[in-house]
Assembly symmetry: C2
Homo-oligomer: 358 residues x 2
């Protein structure tokens, strides 16, 4: 089920960035918010993280228009101790909160070796990997966590409790793109279930459940995802989701994910109070000057040199993303028919110069 | 397959602690090392983490006698910045390195909000959860990571690359035992595979592989474990193992796990250079004074109140461990026949007063 079956057109990443910023401006977002959202969505779309890329723009526009998200937030950062601080995102766009928090965390890490920022009163921030990456691009180790509304069972629960609560980790590599892990703590992405439902293909066992919390391979009956580890070892994924929840919402004094309003609405007026947590470490505060990135290179050479059991090469976290980014920078970012139509409607509705479709 | 089938006797945790310390003393370990090892092993055995409890004493004695582990290390801590430091464990017992590193990390966290220590030239430290727990018992959030020799496939590799590289996370809860997650990043513990092999029971699919990296349900043919997420989503577990590896060995300037000598020998003379990473956060450096532990209580009440899809209650990470600890503090810690015999042999070999077997 390749993406090209659904390909409607391709767009250049600069043009996409321009379009996203103009549409957000028309929906009332300030310049800083426009830039942060376009940076995050274009980064995700270039890397092939299509679930968290350009697809999300219509949602953010709707949340801005409904008043759920504040397009001109006054985000307040309060440094607490040498390595910690809290950011009140004033119900603004999570992307701006994320990049701002990472800047503060990175500044603390340069001084104290570590920096962590708990973010409250925020909103959906797209792909967690974008913020971890922002640290790695400066030669720092970055981590990002976020809670979300309930979609994933606990190990053995009937109903969902945690969100897909992602963990992202990025680190610099000498003469190479960064190491980048960005994963949901659910057994399977919700998108994957939808893809299987669309073609009536049975799911692998033990990764998704029906409305009673009973595992099912019938994608059309799925109402919840199992935690990573599935039916037998889901206590691991549920525990990781819990760690993400505690870092994201408990440290930031937000409600935990079970009480979050659903991202998808129908209430597009009430702020959700999403929480994030960002952590930055300076590698030179542990290893010698510049040694870390060099040793990352050695580690990844060993990893990529492992013989594969299949035809595909063994990949490091990020390898697929950087390959996709090279391709999409050259060939453009693909839009499927639904996305192309949505972007055409946005162009009309917000009177924005349409994307140049190639 | 309950433990009681194999129960040979029970021992009191104080007597076990006494025995472990005396045996280690006889094998040349200094007082600080004796205390750290007995603290870690008794903690793990009381919690029911039997794979990382009293079972390991014979191994540590062997490594001390062979010279792999230094029983009287001069561990050197160097603080680098306000929130970071490195500990050279001088090839001593990993348990002493772990508790020492956590003390330094906790002291930094009280000052700077965060504290992290990369540990090098260390050895096997037992259960990672012990060190995270040491922070939570002081009202702090603790994390512990460790690399190990290769036993787990990459996603799609023919041969193992990472160890079972654990992640531990613990946090204080008001009027309750701490939240405690302690998990290997492999799909299944090696012990479980051995248990299945012993009774010729087929394994769940997609969690373990034969010598060619091909998934097998025949426990007797297993030579490697799959990463958490198994055949379809093992890139998640492999990525988590990689994060643990990078934190544990790359920051501490140690070789990464693929190059570690095997824990099990045969070389019991050469130090292995295991790396650990410990991170402590002060919750009050983010949330208000004492709010965090209270909010953890609220979160866990919601979690434990979720309806279960089976007969068992929905558990939070740590719930099973604290229940087991209550039982074992009252009834004693169980030893199977192999363990009882091993401890009797140790008593003779090292002229230690035997355990009082109940």
């Amino acid at each position: 089920m390749s993406h090209s079956q659904y390909l409607a057109c391709r767009v250049g990443h600069d043009d996409l960035s321009r379009f996203i910023q103009q549409a957000l401006a028309a929906a009332g977002a300030d310049t800083a918010s426009q830039q942060a959202v376009s940076r995050a969505l274009v980064t995700a779309s270039l890397m092939g993280t299509d679930s968290h890329g350009l697809r999300l723009l219509p949602h953010y526009l709707q949340a801005l228009q409904g008043g759920r998200i504040n397009g001109s937030p006054e985000m307040r950062f309060e440094q607490r101790l040498a390595a910690t601080g809290v950011l009140d995102a004033d119900n603004g766009l999570g992307h701006l909160a994320g990049y701002r928090a990472m800047e503060h965390a990175a500044a603390m890490a340069r001084q104290a070796g570590m920096g962590a920022v708990a973010v409250g009163h925020s909103s959906h921030f797209g792909a967690a990997g974008c913020y971890a990456l922002a640290a790695a691009e400066q030669g720092l180790i970055g981590m990002a966590f976020c809670n979300s509304d309930p979609f994933v069972l606990l190990h053995g629960s009937q109903a969902p409790f945690h969100g897909t609560n992602p963990i992202a980790f990025a680190a610099p590599v000498e003469n190479d793109d960064p190491y980048l892990l960005d994963m949901a703590t659910s057994a399977v992405p919700w998108n994957r279930v939808q893809q299987y439902a669309a073609i009536d293909r049975p799911l692998p066992p033990d990764i998704a459940a029906d409305g009673n919390g009973t595992t099912t391979t019938d994608a059309k009956r799925v109402e919840a995802l199992l935690p990573l580890g599935g039916g037998s070892f889901g206590f691991k994924g549920a525990g990781l989701a819990g760690m993400v929840e505690v870092l994201s919402s408990t440290l930031s004094n937000m409600v935990h994910g079970f009480h979050l309003l659903p991202m998808g609405g129908p209430d597009m007026h009430t702020p959700r109070g999403v929480g994030h947590f960002f952590l930055v470490m300076h590698p030179d505060a542990f290893a010698g000057q510049g040694e870390f990135a060099q040793r990352m290179g050695d580690y990844l050479r060993d990893l990529r040199g492992m013989a594969s059991s299949a035809e595909a090469k063994v990949l490091a976290p990020g390898d697929r993303e950087w390959q996709t980014r090279r391709e999409r920078r050259a060939e453009g970012i693909p839009l499927d028919h639904a996305q192309r139509d949505a972007y055409r409607r946005i162009a009309e509705q917000y009177r924005v110069e349409p994307l140049s479709e190639g």
